[in-house]
Structures are given as C-alpha cells and as structure tokens.
C-alpha cells in the first residue's frame, strides 16, 4: 500500500500541476497557489528532518573518543548559537543573529570559495596543456575571456574586449543554448516518467 498510494498521489499532483498551465480559471489558479504553499512547507519539513539528522549525528560523535568529539562540539555550538540568537533576539537588521552571519558566517563562506582560486590555478595548469585541437580551443577561449575582462586587455588592443564580447555572445551562447535545449527536453521526459510512475527512485529502495 505504501508503494501504490505515493505513486497515485504523485500522478494526480503531477497531472493537475501540468494541466493548470493551460486552464484559465480562478479556482484552479487558487488551488495551484495552495499546492505551491504545501510544497514550500514540505520542503522546510524535509530540511528540518535533515537538520535533526545532522544534530543527532554530531551528538553521537561526542560520545566517541578522539579529536572528532571536539569538532562535533564546535558544530553543535554553532547550531546552538544561531538558534538561541535567532529565536531569542529575532532576525531583523541589527540583531545579534545577523551580526554573527555578517561577521563570521559570510566571511568564512567567502574565504572557502576564495580558497578555490589556488586549486583552480593548478587545475588550469593541467587543463591548459593543449594536447588536442579541442583543448587548444578551450585554452584560447579561457585566455581570451581572462584578457578581455581585465584592464590589460584593452591596453594590448582595443579589439580584445570586442572579441571577448563576440566570443561570449555568439559561439559560447550557441553551445549554451544547445545544452539548455537538451536539459529542457531531458527534464521534461524525466518529469513525464515520474508522473507516469515509471521513475520511482524518489521512493527509496522500497519503491522498486
């Protein structure tokens, strides 16, 4: 029963949400908005389940010997800090919650992303060893973009920024469009399979 009911629910929801696009009617639009609200609440509940799982996992790690217990304590401290500040003093501008976000969380996230600059350099070294005509084209496109988007590009020649604009707006967009068309067709086909009950991986191992 717990395999058939979800497949039926999925089919009904899928057919309605696809059909509402073609039906201009007040009650249908209202129901569409209601289902979108449901989706938002289900998404948040799924997120909370994941957060609870992270918390229980870290609590289990505390009981284990070794350095992992200290790291688990730090993670739990971070969660507790944000929860206490967020629910205790609110999330409005100037609140301690946003202070921690602005002064600790956001700079740390930016630093992690900037760390990739060093690894992207070594990846570029490996990737830019042009062995084939295709990789030579890749190198050339990357170098043109890098040169054209910094002031030195214009110093070399005023045509460099123009060439970059053309490369980005014509051949690069052509490939991007083709890939987007492929993604669109693929996602549509997958969505139809999900609604028809042919694709049931979202049910987990019990869905087979």
């Amino acid at each position: 029963m717990l395999r058939k009911i979800p497949v039926m629910v999925c089919a009904v929801c899928g057919v309605f949400m696809a059909a509402q696009y073609f039906i201009v009617s007040g009650p249908v639009s209202q129901l569409y908005g209601t289902v979108l609200d449901w989706m938002q609440i289900i998404f948040v509940c799924a997120l909370l389940v994941g957060i609870l799982h992270v918390i229980t996992r870290q609590i289990k790690n505390i009981s284990r010997p070794g350095p992992e217990r200290w790291y688990a304590m730090i993670a739990l401290f971070g969660i507790a800090l944000m929860v206490v500040l967020g629910f205790g003093w609110g999330i409005s501008r100037g609140s301690p919650f946003l202070w921690v976000f602005d002064h600790v969380q956001a700079p740390m996230q930016t630093t992690v992303f900037s760390l990739l600059a060093f690894y992207v350099a070594s990846a570029a070294y490996r990737g830019f060893r042009a062995r084939h005509a295709e990789s030579a084209v890749l190198v050339l496109a990357a170098l043109i973009v890098l040169l054209g988007r910094v002031p030195v590009g214009e110093i070399i020649s005023p045509y460099v920024p123009q060439t970059v604009s053309w490369v980005l707006n014509v051949p690069a967009v052509a490939a991007k469009r083709a890939i987007l068309i492929g993604i669109g067709l693929g996602m549509t086909a997958t969505a139809i399979k999900v609604i028809a009950g042919m694709e049931r991986t979202y049910l987990g191992s019990g869905g087979r």
């Binding site: 993670a75 900037s114 570029a124 890098l146 890939i179």
Partner: protein, 199 residues
Amino acid sequence: MSDIGIWITALATLAIYSFLYRDNPFYKAAEYLLIGLTVGYSLVISVKTVLWPGLVLPLLGGDTAKIIPLVLGGLMFIRLVPKLGGWSRIPLAVYVGAGAGVSIPAMLKARVLQQMGATMSNVTTISGVIMLVGVITTILYFYFSREQKGLLQPVAKIGTYYMMIFFGATFGYTVMSRVSLLIGRMEFLLGDWLRLIAR
C-alpha cells in the same frame, strides 16, 4: 565593522587559509563551526520565514485548510522512526509529483521553445548564422540514436568546438570570480585588519 568583529573575521579567515599548508586542527575547527552556523542559520530562517507565518500562525487563527500541509509536513518527520518511515513517501510524492507537473510547461517554454525562437530570430546576420550552426551541431553531438560516422561525424565535431569555446569561457569566468574573492579577502586582511594598505 567593530574591532571585535574584525578580529573574529580575521581569525576565521586565517584558520581557513591554513588549509593551504595542510589539513590541520585550526582548519577543521573552522570548517565545523561554519557547518554548525550554516545549519543553525537554515533552521532559524526556514522556521521564522516559512513555517511560522505560513503554517503555525494561520492554524492558530483558525484556518482549517492548513491542516493538510500540517499532516504532510508531520509525515516527513515520521522518517525519523525507521518502522514507520514509509509514510514519509506520501509528502515526498506530493512534492515530486507537483514539481514534475510544474516543470513540464515551464521547461518546454523557457529551455526549449524560447531558446529555439531566440536562435532562429536573428539568422539574417553572420553572427546569427554562426549561432544557428552552433546550436544545431551541438545538439547533433548529443544525438546517440545512431553511430556518429559518415556525415554526422564532422557535424558533431564542429559541435565539440563550440562546446569547448563555451567551457573555456566558463572556466575563465570561474577563475576570475575566485581570484576576485581572494583579492577581497586579502584587502580585508591587509587593510581592515592589519591596516597595511589604504581602503
């Protein structure tokens, strides 16, 4: 930014950059702190901006229609009980089914029809023709229903070159964005924190 804020940010930044030397306890501590803060942030934001105004307040106000999302959301939490976990498939089915249904017209319109229309609307110029050739040859590269030989092989090869230009341009942009983030952090450390450079 207050002095204590600058010091906390600077120490957190240095702890993460210490990974460039090797994996070490300072980096690990910063990593776990970031995970904890991000999880706590997501929890507070999702409860305060979605659950509280979208579910709890209407229910307290007597909106009985919100009982359905309450039940669906509650069934998600049953996943935490292994024996009853199968019931959580029902809200998942609503989410996946509705998402799939919404995506069919949206994807066909935005990703297929509009892209095709934009490609074919400008074929009177040289750039427009180059664009049309690029789209067709790249799509043909992904045509796997028959072996790529004969006429299909050189056509698909042209598509490969278009894709290499796209990947190269994307890689160039990625390098630039990461380097500009690095410059931002260095400006913070040398300017705001150590005051060695003017900002």
